[in-house]
């Protein structure tokens, strides 16, 4: 199978341009573009260049270590991994969570959604949106935003801070906490902590509403460009609650095609493999998931804010729901299909997260102290959650000695692999064809990638074969490590 602009017919005859590393995203990626002598684009690829090997080295570890280990795949959304793993392990120990435990986890998750979306919008992407995609690279970063728009920047910094504080109060630490454990949580929320968070939450809701207006204003100002930029039709997938509401912590899988028709609905995620499979391509460590019903060519889909906001029937908090309706109606629904629509949907979700935090802080269960549950032990568990970047799947098998014997993860950004490649190919066609490539033009490619807020280090937990030979020489000139050409090639054939 092959997609348009994925593979050039005679790559050796073309010149290569690389964007390396892709910046203002999390993790390690690069883009290569192959052009002919008339600067026509023949091939565009987003490569994920790193690996972890997590699924393999977690084997043999006691299952209770998993929620704390696995979050170290990603420092931007550690809570997502922490919770997805905990949910899978709840299933393995047969625990049905107490109301307090579930609400504390939901609170932690909403804090994470708030901080991650704020970080992505204000610290990473706003420079492209507020200065322009091709603006001066020296200014196009968070420092430029702080200097040019100090009020906006300050709100962004404080929104992120607030989300991080919610995480600290529920998980014990801002990055890589330990609050969630198989069967529940290990820390209750004190009255003091609750009151501290309550003090600022109304401000956070108000600022999140402003953020929705900022991105709406940008769409209004640049309507044609924003709607057309890197646009492509796609299926989408997300979790939804039993009544069709957006639910970022729990639900069933729903997928729609590009026209909005439902492909599957309320699919039990414990059997995700009935509907999803994955493909491997030689040029990326990141796999390519697709819906089995349509196969690899047509079955790929997007996940994350844009997919979730349009996939659900409503958002169960009033301000975000109203913002959703306005978004879906905007310009006869065209913004909701635009790649840059991801930013708008993300800010709607940030507002939803702020409202959710407010509601949970007013819920009396949140101060409860009944934190742990137990049940009948089984061997297999699947945990799925909507992480800031999309659907996150954790799947474990644990033996009688409580050791993990198998693990499979499909992380959010991996689902968006084909959509990201599709978006940059569209942008290459729209902006690069026949042009002398400047830094500003090349940034357009990165702008398209940033829409998805990819977390590239999450997405790469395995490693590949390299057709090279390299020695690693230490500071004193001794040989530290060595990788021999085609070392793994043998393993493919033996």
């Amino acid at each position: 199978m092959s997609f348009k602009l994925e593979t050039a017919v005679y790559p050796e005859k073309l010149k290569r341009v690389a964007i390396e590393p892709v910046s203002r995203v999390e993790g390690h990626g690069k883009v290569t573009i192959l052009l002919d002598e008339n600067d026509q684009v023949h091939q565009v690829r987003l490569h994920i260049v790193e690996f972890r090997g997590f699924e393999k080295f977690i084997q043999g570890r006691p299952y209770w270590e998993v929620p704390v280990m696995v979050q170290r795949l990603c420092g931007i959304c550690p809570v997502s991994h922490h919770l997805a793993a905990s949910k899978a392990l709840d299933m393995i120990i047969g625990a049905k969570l107490t109301p307090t435990a579930e609400k504390l986890r939901r609170l932690m998750h909403a804090g994470q959604m708030l901080q991650s979306h704020a970080l992505h919008f204000f610290h990473l992407s706003s420079p492209d949106l507020m200065f322009g995609f091709g603006s001066d690279a020296a200014q196009r970063n968070v420092v430029g935003i702080i200097s040019a728009f100090p009020e906006v920047a300050k709100k962004g910094v404080l929104l992120r801070k607030y989300g991080q504080e919610v995480i600290r109060h529920t998980a014990g630490k801002r990055v890589h906490g330990t609050g969630s454990v198989p069967g529940g949580v290990n820390k209750s929320l004190t009255v003091d902590e609750r009151d501290q968070l309550l003090k600022d939450i109304y401000q956070m809701v108000a600022w999140s509403r402003e953020a929705v207006q900022i991105i709406r204003g940008l769409f209004e100002k640049n309507l044609e460009e924003y709607n057309a930029f890197g646009r492509f039709p796609a299926n989408s997938m997300s979790l939804v609650r039993a009544d069709g509401a957006m639910d970022l912590y729990h639900g069933g899988l729903r997928a729609r095609d590009a026209a909005g028709k439902v492909i599957f609905d309320h699919h039990n995620y414990e059997h995700y493999w009935e509907v999803i499979s994955e493909d491997v391509k030689p040029w990326s460590y990141m796999k390519f998931p697709f819906m089995k019903a349509f196969g690899p060519d047509d079955g790929w889909y997007r996940v994350g804010p844009l997919a979730r906001v349009s996939n659900c029937d409503f958002i169960p908090t009033p301000l975000a729901d109203k913002a959703r309706e306005e978004f879906l109606a905007f310009d006869a629904g065209r913004a909701a299909g635009a790649t840059l629509g991801y930013h708008w949907a993300r800010m709607i979700e940030m507002l939803h997260a702020a409202e959710t935090i407010k509601d949970l802080l007013h819920d009396e269960d949140i101060l409860g102290t009944d934190l742990m549950a137990k049940g009948e032990r089984v061997q297999r568990g699947v945990g799925v959650i909507e992480a800031p970047r999309g659907t996150l799947i954790h799947h474990y098998r644990v033996n009688e000695d409580d050791q993990v014997i198998r693990a499979n993860l499909i992380v959010s950004t991996t689902h968006n692999n084909q959509p990201m490649n599709e978006a940059i190919r569209q942008v290459a066609k729209q902006y690069l064809n026949g042009k002398k490539l400047t830094e500003g033009l090349l940034n357009h490619i990165e702008v398209a990638i940033r829409c998805f807020d990819p977390c590239l280090s999450c997405a790469t937990h395995a490693l590949g074969q390299m057709p090279l030979e390299v020695s690693l020489i230490d500071a004193k000139g001794g040989c530290l490590d060595r990788m021999v050409k085609n070392q793994q090639a043998a393993s493919l054939t033996d």
Partner: protein
């Protein structure tokens, strides 16, 4: 100080959590940028490190590209610091050091039952992975080590403000920890 301190940062085989902890200095960031200027960093679009006063490295080295970037930083930075457990001793990614690469590859890209077409990625655009993940001081000289997974924001702040004030950085009680 007459001119701003030039600072470059990068994440090698790390999870970005150390960079997050840096941003956890919160609104102090607004003051800090009056005193420092970012060169290459995941926060800017500068793709290669120029001459800098300070280089901050998160993560150990797991592939040839990491080694290349680390050496670029050492060449250009007067002071180089290893930020966090991964840079200091390999951290979580180094858990794979006890395993054979071949096994990991096969399991993840070939025999994993969810796959439709298996195959190990081997394009020349992908950097060569090392057999083991190494701490960065095994490859270049490191001037300071800030422990923690991640080091707390206050420790990063103390370190930077000491340096900016011309003091020898010193992390007092409560800032030096390893979790």
């Amino acid at each position: 100080m007459d001119r701003k301190l030039k600072v470059a940062t990068t994440s090698l085989a790390g999870c970005f959590g150390c960079h997050m902890s840096f941003l956890d200095i919160d609104e102090r960031l607004l003051d800090l940028i009056q005193l420092i200027e970012f060169d290459r960093s995941p926060l800017t679009d500068i793709k290669h490190c120029g001459p800098c006063d300070l280089g901050i490295i998160e993560g150990g080295v797991c592939n040839a590209e990491n080694v290349h970037v680390l050496r670029e930083f050492r060449r250009n930075c007067k002071i180089l610091i290893a930020l966090g457990a991964c840079a200091i001793n390999g951290g979580l990614p180094a858990q794979r050091n006890q395993l054979d690469l071949r096994d990991i590859l096969e399991e993840v890209y070939q025999t994993e039952p969810g796959l439709t077409h298996g195959g190990i990625p081997n394009d020349p655009e992908l950097p060569l992975p090392l057999n083991k993940v190494h701490p960065i001081h095994e490859v270049v000289k490191i001037d300071y080590f800030l422990p923690g997974c991640p080091p707390p924001a206050d420790a990063i702040w103390k370190f930077l403000t000491d340096l900016l004030a011309g003091r020898t950085p010193h992390l007092g009680h409560g800032l030096l920890h390893y979790d």
